[in-house]
Subunit: 334 residues, 4 copies
């Protein structure tokens, strides 16, 4: 039985983690921590949650757990990771702290010095389908961002192929509101979001951009530039990325579909959709799956990629990573 | 041309007032004031608004207006009313400050001393259909609360009739989220509201309860007690009150419908629905109307009453009051 | 391993049943049948479903199953029940066909002669918390309606107590749209439902009314009349019933809460909420639970009762019944 | 006073037209026609509509009107146009029948022979900002499609400029559900749409594609190919198109913004947003406006263009066209 601790349990990601782990046959929750709500029970914060006592992070009994999930703001996550690793606890960090391998890039995009740059080289970028072999020995896993998960799973087979690419890679991504977190703000107010739909942080602004560029660079040496346009959808959860890649040579949709079929054959959580079917949120919400559709129009390949941002885009993929790290069935609890 | 000033223009009610007054043929907006956003334009706060400059309330040119609308928090409203009245400006207050005639009741429900108790006797309770005759001479109008508007218009003909009542008057009321205002909070977060539906402040808790009891007392000496159960609907705007009154004697639905038809004959904004039709939000959103349905089941009369909380429940009724105060057509701009 | 067949698998209730049974440790789906979609796979009908082949009901291999779930229209359900029972298969019927014990009442409310009146006496009304002892020996279970589940669980402890009641029992109930089924209609069109909220079938019209009256009659000989007002909520799933019962004598909220606490002590799926907490959809969606809040105002007891209409109100309670019928843990799969 | 007849008044577009014309100071509705609902009043179809009697189209008194609006299915619209024009009535057709100038293209995309090809040369493509000069003398106006309105207004200044273009023009467009019409279907069922988001008809499938290509061809001789990806948003109304155009040479955002500012200077219904502001549905719903944002990322120009699909994308633009045709103020009623 894997003993688990959760830091930052009162956000949407933390809560989703609790929900998944509660029905996980091989894991048990040893503690749930929250800075802002310590002293209450989780049930007092979420009406559908179990009555687990919330403790302050500083009082977490690290000696009672095998792995800690960090659902904390960036910087706070890295500081907690240092403490947990020192106590011999493996860490799955759902913040952005260990996603970028370059401390200077981190400092640029997050506007402060990285709290633990010495750990960057060791952290595994936890797109499970990609890093699976590295997980059993990993001490520290950087769980990918939600937008990057939807985009990178869709792009990877193409980038690793020898299909030439021309023009920019454009990802027009749409996310449900839980992606913005649980802290109230004008932009998450029901009246502002309902009946509305709005792009935001278009251009080179969103912090998930360097994370995606980093992985694209790993997979193809001189890939075209990435254009990333996030939009806010009036739904609680789910991400759909519609990705446009202009190919540098003629191709057939059948060949591209075969390429993707081979790449994801046997994957329990990635579904390459049959011809004529496009990915939608209804394919994936409340599951750990990623659905990928392919449509070729002239030389433009249109990829539609859908995930549940809280599950495959956060808590679900974190548990998928834990499962592989500890030798459980990869699908356990998911 | 009526010259209008609006205090608190950056809330939902203030914004709705601007929208209505912009297309009003007999009124013009002289200033819009906001404590928190002074210095910006209204367009910077609402993307669909005109680019009116927002000034601080203290700098409002009261000598340039005939009437001031107060979309302010309670207490602040009363203080501003004093200043405006002293400057010879008529006041339509959309806060709760002048709704209760009894300063002690106000102090009890609002937990502070009334800032201007000397004005309470003078204030007109501005349910237009009821107070119409008093408006031309009024200096100060207390615009009714949104829930009370939906409930009182539905109850009044019955209360004024000689139909005996038994048992409590129960109003099960449901409101869209704009009724809770624009300040972000956990309870108005999109993810908490969407796909949810929740009662709140059931019992003798909500501040609209004494307002309704006061008017019920005016219309029937010994009315049964009122039970008021508000609920939060996952829609931006609209209130539906389903009201249950157990009659003290047999009656027919046809007679009751005739009673209501007579009471509201000729009213431009109150529609008594035909037999078999129930009020819904779709009858009234984006209008100044109140739709009232009647269904008699045994001795229980079920009234369904729908309004748009921001229009007939706030800004629209305020303009309707202004129209009568200044001798415009009552429907102008509405 | 309980072998299960599902008739009418392509409606919302059927689909929910598949979802639950897929993760049930002690049951396996032997077939899924659909009149309208036979020949397709379930995956072609619901993008998140498994690729089970849909067969015509008439071709269902009844000899391969222990129990059949009927998610069929009324009348069709009773006819299928006869066939299944004759084949030695136990039946859990999610339609209304076996809920009313009186064939004449059925004929009145459903406007046709009951297809199998000889089975009415045998059918167990499957509110699991009530009929638990009868389930192990049952051949035929009438799974309760969604509204009745929310209302009857909330009323039962009070009705069985010696607290005197006065005035009508009023239930103001609000349901998500999946309660109306998957067949497209004007009233379930997104544009008609979104931003709207509407009462419907108020009075003595809705077919769940006699079902509730029947159970109320079982539990208290001369109960007050029931007034039932259903409303359509702009959410996919969930029911909240706000129930008003005027007591015939003074009582304290604490005593009533104790009564309910005793009645549901140890129940895995019924939660009596602590003082001051009201039931909401967020307490129960995506679970098999019923949350019940109590508020006493004067002599009016206000019960708030929430369930997920597709789970505790249909597929979940059906599986809960199956679990007890076959000796599984009652919570298995739920 | 312009006398107006409306065919197909009971769809969303027809209903919006009634709403606009009711408050139009220079027009009056002479008749509303509906094939399916003739004999009822409009109020019986829409609870917020006036009680206008619905007549059969064949019985419409064409001698009493100056202009007919056709909110009919394609083919039926062209047939009615022939009748109305023969009666000396000017026609504004909101269907697709007169948008494509080439009868062969029409036959290809709409799968039947054009009912009135002799009128195609005469029909004005009614993007008001573009065709304004031709409207006073026009007998027949083809009101543009909703998607094309959002895309073409955003592209036109660029296409008419001398900025070179490279790569495809990609428009990732998202529409509210009213764009799909009022006829119930599985894809417009509330439960299928709410909490979902889905692309559809991606590739060379959607009938608005040739309409956009035709106009693009008018404005730039050898424009890059157009890629059009429509998506269904869980909102009742509004379209946002996010359009990606890769330029063939370096440019500055300021220069491009100036180009757009000049193109739309003085336009009452097109707003070019200031630097840093992106178009959203909240800019435009319930108005006749089109909001256009510009963001340059490397050599990719990202245009965000928002309209209300029922107003600027249909009924509002139709009235705008009528206003110019009959010499009213262009903004009258809007």
């Amino acid at each position: 039985m894997i003993r688990v601790g959760i830091y930052g349990a009162t956000g949407y990601t933390g809560m989703e983690l609790v929900r998944i782990l509660q029905r996980h046959p091989g894991a048990e929750i040893a503690f749930v921590a929250s800075q802002s709500q310590a002293g209450k029970t989780l049930r007092q914060v979420f009406p559908a949650a179990p009555a687990l006592p919330l403790i302050a992070g500083a009082e977490a009994p690290l000696d009672e757990v095998d792995v800690a999930f960090l659902c904390l703001p960036h910087a706070a996550a890295a500081e907690t990771a240092v403490v947990a690793l020192a106590a011999g606890v493996r860490v799955i960090d759902l913040s952005a702290d260990f996603r970028l391998r370059d401390a200077a890039a981190y400092a640029h995009w997050y506007a402060h010095t990285h709290p633990a740059p010495e750990l960057l080289a060791e952290a595994i970028y936890g797109l499970t389908e990609v890093c699976r072999a590295d997980l059993p020995g990993a001490r520290l896993v950087a769980n990918p961002g939600c937008y990057p998960t939807s985009v990178l799973l869709a792009l990877r087979p193409l980038l690793l192929s020898n299909v030439p690419l021309a023009g920019p890679i454009i990802t027009d991504s749409k996310s449900g509101v839980s992606g913005a977190g649980r802290t109230p703000s004008q932009t998450s107010h029901f009246v502002e979001v309902a009946d509305n739909f709005s792009p935001y942080k278009i251009g080179r602004v969103h912090r998930h951009l360097p994370e995606m560029e980093q992985a694209i660079g790993w997979w193809r040496a001189s890939a075209p530039p990435l254009v990333f346009s996030p939009h806010l959808l009036p739904v609680p959860r789910g991400i759909l990325s519609t990705i446009y890649v202009t190919l540098g040579a003629d191709a057939t949709e059948a060949n591209l579909r075969a390429l993707y079929g081979d790449a994801y054959a046997g994957e329990p959580f990635v579904e390459v959709l049959p011809a004529g079917e496009l990915a939608s949120l209804a394919h994936v919400t409340y599951t750990n799956r990623c659905a990928i559709g392919l449509t070729l129009v002239g030389r433009t390949l249109i990829l539609t990629s859908a995930i549940d941002n809280l599950i495959k885009g956060a808590a679900g993929q974190a548990v998928q990573n834990m499962n592989v790290m500890f030798g459980c069935a990869e699908t356990a609890g998911l």
